[in-house]
Amino acid sequence: MKPKPPPADVRRADFEQLYERHSREVWAVAYARWMNADTASDVMQETFLRLWKQQETGETILNARAWLLRVARNLAEDHAKSAFRRNGTSPPQTMNGVQASEPLPLERLERDETFAQLREVMEQLPKADREILTLRYALDYETGEIAELLSINATAVHMRLSRARQRLADRLKSEGVGPLP
């Protein structure tokens, strides 16, 4: 006999707990794929909606974290096929300069320029590099947490992270991207 599902408010509370615990990781995975905060947020929301629907069907998800990350990766890949992506739009960061009616302070402009260059350089990095850098610097994860998330050991995390930073630093240097003003 199938066990009776918990009441709706309990299910909602469980769902919100999962969101609180894993939403940043899901965002980071999507962000590392596209280097776009809005896209990452969309993918994150869609991933959790799917989790909710899955739970509502009564199916038990043994490892919610692994499930979420797998779905987020798939959704991020599918995003490439979507009409939105195909038709092409300018990322919000590009449009900010157009929409702004008042002049920005010089320092802010220089900082935005540096970040835009950094984004371009990171987009040229391998996906694995972007992912580990995002986990390390966006979520401030430690080696153990990254190792657990990526299902690799701590030594591998050290090595991947070291190489990713090396590649990034080399490309930043070749592109002439300096430190922040």
């Binding site: 769902f15 969101y19 939403s23 909606l49 970040f115 390390r136 610097y137 080696t143 990034l168």
Partner: protein, 141 residues
């Protein structure tokens, strides 16, 4: 304790600082709320007495009866005392039979219109087909 060490002190600091500052601008702030997964529904109020539906049916029947009675009685009330004007019946529509005789149409300057041949044909309408007897159509065998 952070177990991740920078590559070299100077370059590592630069890259670390740049990355941290960059990601700080990228993370949504405030963090978005979890997606709305359900529509809150108002609790359905059931009648505790158990005959709420009977009552509503009586109210509906009374409303329909009132509507029918009104539609039947009200027109009679307003039309019974009204005397129709000549040429207009009780419903206010014109009656052709009781209208006075309309003046007949006159021809131009009081003369009858002459029958003229159609322009370009050169003969009257009656001349279009000549009289033919059957022998012209069906020759004798």
């Amino acid at each position: 304790m952070r177990s991740v060490e920078p590559l070299s002190q100077n370059r590592g600091d630069n890259v670390d600082g740049l990355l941290r500052a960059f990601y700080r601008t990228q993370l949504p702030n405030p963090w978005p709320m979890p997606p709305t997964t359900f529509r809150p529904t108002l609790p359905f109020r059931r009648s505790l007495r158990g005959h709420g539906s009977t009552r509503s049916r009586w109210v509906l029947a009374a409303s329909v009866a009132l509507l029918l009675a009104g539609s039947l009685l009200l027109p009679r009330r307003f039309t019974s005392n009204v005397q129709p004007e000549p040429g207009i019946d009780a419903l206010g529509t014109a009656n052709r039979n009781i209208l006075p005789d309309a003046p007949k149409m006159k021809t131009h300057e009081g003369k009858p219109v002459e029958k003229k041949p159609l322009p370009g044909l050169g003969f009257d309408e009656g001349d279009l087909l000549p009289d033919l007897d059957d022998s012209a159509v069906f020759p004798p065998k």
